[in-house]
Amino acid sequence: MMAASSWLKRLRAIVRIVRMALYALRAYRLRSAFVIAAIALGIASLTIIIASIDGAERKADEIMEMFGPDAAFVIGGATNTRAVGWRGLTLTYADVRRIRAELPGAYLTVPMRAKSNITLRYRDRSVEVPILVGSTEGYADAWNWPLVEGRDFSTDDVDRGAKVTLLADAPALALFGESSPLGETVFINDVPMQVIGRLAYRGMPSMGASIDDRLVIPITTLTQRYNMDRKYVRALRVKFRDPENMAFHTENLRALLRDQHRLDTGEDDDFTVLTAEEILKFITMFKGGLVAFLGITAAVAILVGGFVLANLFYLSVSERRSEIGLKKALGAKNRAIMLQFLAEAVALTLIGALFGMALGMGIGQFLDRLGLLQILFSWKIFFHSLLASGAIGIVFGLKPARQAAALPPVEALKGV
């Protein structure tokens, strides 16, 4: 009973001192505003850094999931040795046939070509679609991309150059809404095509455009109907059994393509093999750069905020000497004075943190919308920011608060 009531009294004393600290903050508005602004900038950068790292991490997960751990993606290209415009075209149908026939472990090889910025029309409505992909049977499987309705291409479709198409989510939604597009005839750059399937929503931005904003037709149809050369393909997607042997598979694939392209030892590859591992490496590197760059920025901003706080509090302590002396004369103990100044510092940094988070999220959303960074907000950010700002308040407020507490009452009262 005794212990409980003394504990309560102590709590009440703390509440009273904190309330006094808040009064003082209101009284010294301009100074408070400066500290809040300084801390807010630091916390804003901290918010952005955590949000963008989380964003990059989620993006990595998504890319991994889409890319699949069991697949390689081969992009044609010899940037050094070929004329502009032909650089990308180094992979041929002969490569595809040879991989299908000879590469151990590969069970699905799908070539791709693309045509950009086409017009898709259905009845009296039309939409611009950024990319028209030509591929073969197995396209949906190769990309782990399920069809919500309809079917993938058949071998027959590809052999005949059939005028059939798969709609990804965006064009399907634009032209058909929720109703089924199956069996309908659409016009792709004025060529009539029958819709045979609809790809599921993927929801991932890739290089600015949504991955869902695309059409897929047989690669033969693409080259025949839109007058493209019939020898080359732009990229290959190869899926393997035994994903644990991916390093081995990738090396085999590379060796096979080098042999097929008659590259001598010492010559550079005229293609690039991408695997999930490869992409992950790149993302990790990107993330590391992000942490270093934003981390330094955030650290500097927070440090500056801390120094502004400490400076203004030293000023505050010397300006408020008589208040400190008076409170001591009235019976405030040293720790009550210290607690008041610390409470003022921490309250300011916490308020600064809230503004900083709002600012950081605003800037983050802006960067996100510009496509510069993917941003992911979470409670983690909230708690990290509060923790960081509380720490700034205590670390940078402690010295001035101690100085205030240590003032002898007689000295403090004289100092008017």
């Binding site: 004393a13 019976g331 008017v416």
Partner: protein
């Protein structure tokens, strides 16, 4: 005056070190003040009366000698115990009022109570009563800057009385006030004394000192008249 005095100083010295030079501000002060007295502490500036007031008010410690406050030897108490003792035993009234500028009159009066054990509601009620007593019932929510000098000193007097201290220490309480207002403030202090409080008035002004029953005159660190 039954037995022990409320305040008893014996051989109190106060020395300051100024570089090589030791300055002796108080020299062997012996002083007894009984409960209920109204004492004026007089002396020219530099006589040591401010230093003596600080020691009496537990704001400073003697360099040597003993100080018994209500029988308790307080000369060697640490900061925390001195704070506690100041809170409940001493009420201060200063020349420049020392009101907290961002608190209302009522909040200023409540202030010393916030460092003590009493409940907030009780403190506010008592603060209101005291402000009524000093004639400021209409000004409870005014800021110091909205009050005249005399009114500010009344707030300070109400604040000094909040914790029912054993000793009221008034350091030049009329130093910043015109003569009419000074007389009002001194009447107020005399009234407080008549209700049984011990009042120690520090002043260099003999007219002000005339309100007290007893004069103690300090010169060059020694009591020349007690």
């Amino acid at each position: 005056m039954s037995g022990a005095a409320l305040i008893r100083l014996r051989g109190v010295d106060k020395r300051y070190q100024q570089g090589e030079l030791a300055v002796e501000v108080l020299k062997g002060i012996d002083l007894d003040i009984a409960a209920g007295e109204f004492v004026a502490l007089l002396g020219p500036s530099g006589s040591g009366k401010s230093t003596l007031m600080h020691i009496l008010g537990l704001l400073d410690r003697p360099s040597s000698g003993s100080y018994y406050l209500a029988g308790e030897d307080v000369a060697s108490h640490d900061d925390d115990r001195l704070s506690e003792l100041r809170n409940r035993a001493i009420g201060f009234i200063f020349q420049t009022f020392y009101l907290v500028p961002y608190l209302s009159a009522l909040e200023n009066v409540v202030l010393p109570g916030l460092y003590g054990p009493e409940s907030g509601r009780h403190l506010r009620q008592r603060a209101e009563e005291l402000l009524v007593q000093v004639g400021l019932s209409e000004r409870l929510d005014f800021r110091p800057s909205q009050l005249s000098g005399g009114q500010q000193q009344r707030v300070a007097i109400a604040r000094a009385l909040l914790c029912s201290p054993q000793v009221l220490l008034a350091d030049e309480p009329t130093g910043q006030l015109d003569s009419n207002t000074s007389a009002e403030i001194m009447e107020l202090l005399a009234g407080i004394h008549r209700r049984g409080h011990t009042v120690i008035l520090v002043t260099h002004d003999h007219a002000t000192a005339a309100f007290a029953q007893r004069r103690i005159v300090l010169n060059d660190g020694c009591i020349v008249l007690a």
